[in-house]
């Protein structure tokens, strides 16, 4: 099923932002933004914030990421999982992202830097994005919300 997208005028007023939400054992990540792509970018910043303060991370290194999924929710989980993989294998943390989504395919650039134990004081490694509270939807004000719980 193709991913439908709509960015009505009023949603442009919403500043893209992220937040964490409660889960007893772990932590929920949520991105809220005028567009689906920005909501995915914000959710990914929320993911970095589980590990460290994103403001402490520089954006000197860029890597590209692509993934596909049959629906937007699985696409969000796949996107976060690709980032977790890159963080684990290359010892990176990401500060910001540029995401494009077209017909179930996500193409992105993630900007970040190598983990510095002293500077970043990373709290936890993230094991994976779960399907718990996995939701991608448009609010009444047309803002896009992209969220899931990550296992740490």
């Amino acid at each position: 099923m193709p991913i439908e997208r709509d960015s009505p005028l009023n949603s442009k007023l919403i500043t893209p932002h992220w937040e964490h939400f409660e889960h007893k054992a772990d932590i929920g990540i949520r991105g809220i933004a005028p567009t689906l792509e920005q909501a995915f970018e914000q959710a990914a910043i929320a993911m970095t914030a589980v590990v460290t303060d994103p403001n402490l991370v520089s954006d000197a290194t860029a890597i590209t990421i692509t993934c596909t999924a049959p629906d937007t929710e699985l696409l969000l989980a796949s996107w976060i999982n690709e980032l977790i993989y890159e963080m684990a294998v290359h010892g990176l943390l990401f500060k910001r992202y540029q995401v494009a989504i077209d017909n179930g395919k996500l193409s992105a650039t993630a900007f970040g830097a190598a983990v510095d134990q002293q500077k970043h004081q990373p709290a936890v490694e993230i094991k994976g994005a779960t399907f718990t509270e996995l939701r991608v939807y448009q609010q009444a004000d047309d803002a896009w919300v992209a969220q899931c719980v990550v296992d740490v």
Partner: protein, 476 residues
């Protein structure tokens, strides 16, 4: 949660009768207080598990159950392949074969006391812990294959440990049926530099003092006496297990319709045991169990080196090694008939009782050691399997305390450095690369492990043998 939703079967057994799509009842072992404190999500998740095809007897939750992913953490469910039973990646979890291993040191607390700081430093230097930590071992393709097939036995062949370690590990240190060709290149890539590392979050290595013996006869067989010093290691299959869990969760979620499985929650993604996808997952999951067993074996080797640098000539023997995130093929009696069942334990420990054929001779009379990890700064417990546990929950017990508070709430409430000072005043040394990590793992962010263990004992899931108190904790 509201206890009126249950039928109380006995002091510690609470049942939800099958309703809606549930194929079997759901049963929680708890006292009234623990049950009231449990999240309503445990009820929802357990009743969802009870709807899965081929489930046998009941969906069980241990006294430490809390909101997990699809399955509650502390969930146990057995599936019969002859009845269309399934295997669920969510029912095993991301950290496949996460578990606890306990080592005897041969020291008592008086002998340790003058060398506590030196031992804490040596352990912290020797065992890689925390985010982004790498081991000194690099696995090439051949070594990866050997590790995924051989587990702790492979580690032994590489010089990490001794032959007699193996009988003190579930599966004799090597999970049969591993099929490394179903482990993706990405999962291998994620693991190639992570062997012998603790990881982060609630993973740790802890030096502990035996503070109380509950069952002197069994404690004697386990080699435990009051004031003995032991070392416990809590970790799992690292990046490899996480990647396998991630990939199969997605594959199973996408294939559910093809197998005509109705998922009440996508996180319960599963595949028939007899399907190609189910078999591929079992092969990969068993390889991940071997990865966890090899990892704990290598950490044991590093621990022996660190201890020997402070106490030359001292030798550390294993008490036992248990896994608490697995799906294993076991023989169980259901309605008087022997059945081969695939038992999922998600945050639950296997607890085979006396005379179980899979136990080594040393534990034939006592049942297996059941190792229950506490949280930083709180007690841990050693229990033993009971014969009654077979009928209670397919020979399973709890695995730890379970969180009482989210990570974000914990960081709002405590500061890492203050916690370390408070624990130091109690004589507990903490070493951790991240102060925020310490705050997130604050002792009071977890439930009272003693209450959980008490109920596991009273419910007959396992019997209390000894209590352990922390002396040094190396946090991942």
């Amino acid at each position: 949660m509201d206890t009126s939703q249950f039928i109380q079967r006995d002091e510690t057994c609470w049942e939800i009768k099958p309703k809606g799509a549930m194929r079997v009842p759901a049963i929680i072992y708890a006292d009234e207080q623990l049950l009231q404190d449990m999240d309503q999500k445990v009820y929802e998740q357990l009743t969802n598990v009870a709807t899965l095809p081929g489930i046998v007897e009941a969906a069980y939750a241990m006294p430490d159950a809390h909101w997990g992913y699809g399955f509650p953490i502390g969930g146990v469910a057995a599936f019969d392949p002859e009845l269309g039973g399934v295997v669920s990646a969510g029912g095993v979890g991301f950290d496949i074969s996460c578990g606890v291993r306990t080592l005897h040191t041969g020291l008592n607390i008086t002998q340790l006391e003058p060398h506590k700081q030196a031992l804490a430093d040596a352990l912290y230097r020797t065992i890689p812990a925390g985010v982004g930590s790498r081991g000194k071992i690099h696995l090439n393709h051949k070594a990866m294959l050997g590790m995924l097939t051989g587990g702790a036995q492979w580690a032994l062949e590489q010089g990490y440990g001794e032959e007699h370690d193996l009988e003190r590990i579930e599966e004799h240190g090597c999970m049969a049926g591993a099929e490394p060709h179903y482990v993706s290149p990405k999962a291998r890539e994620r693991q190639k530099d992570e062997m012998g590392t603790l990881g982060s979050g609630n993973h740790y290595l802890e030096v502990q003092r035996v503070s109380k013996i509950f069952d002197p006869a069994v404690a004697k067989v386990f080699g435990l006496h009051v004031d003995d010093v032991v070392i416990s290691i809590h970790c799992g299959s690292r990046g490899l297990g996480h990647q396998i869990g991630t990939e199969f969760l997605k594959d199973m979620a996408m294939s559910a319709a093809q197998y005509q499985i109705v998922l009440p929650d996508r996180e319960l993604a599963c595949a028939p045991l007899n399907s190609p996808l189910g078999k591929h997952y079992l092969g990969a999951m068993r390889a991940a169990i071997n990865c966890a067993l090899a990892n704990r074996q290598i950490i044991t080797h590093l621990t022996r080196q660190a201890v020997a640098s402070v106490f030359p000539g001292l030798h550390l023997d294993l008490l036992y090694d248990v896994s608490h995130n697995t799906c294993k093929l076991e023989q169980h009696t259901v309605n008087g008939q022997k059945k081969s069942l695939f038992v999922h334990r998600k945050g639950a420990t296997r607890a085979f009782g006396p005379d179980h054929p899979d136990l080594p001779d040393v534990f034939k009379k006592t049942g297996q050691p059941v190792l229950i990890g506490g949280s930083m700064g709180t007690s841990s417990y050693v229990l033993c399997g009971t014969k009654a546990s077979e009928q209670r929950a397919f020979s399973s017990a709890c695995h730890g305390a379970g969180r009482a508070m989210s990570r974000s709430k914990a960081t709002q409430q405590w500061q890492g450095r203050t916690l370390i000072e408070q624990l130091a005043a109690q004589g507990i040394i903490i070493r951790c690369p991240s102060m925020r990590g310490v705050a997130e793992e604050a002792p009071l962010a977890y439930k009272d492990v003693s209450a959980v263990v008490e109920i596991a004992d009273r419910a007959g899931l396992a019997r209390k043998v000894a209590r352990l108190e922390p002396v040094i904790c190396i946090k991942g």
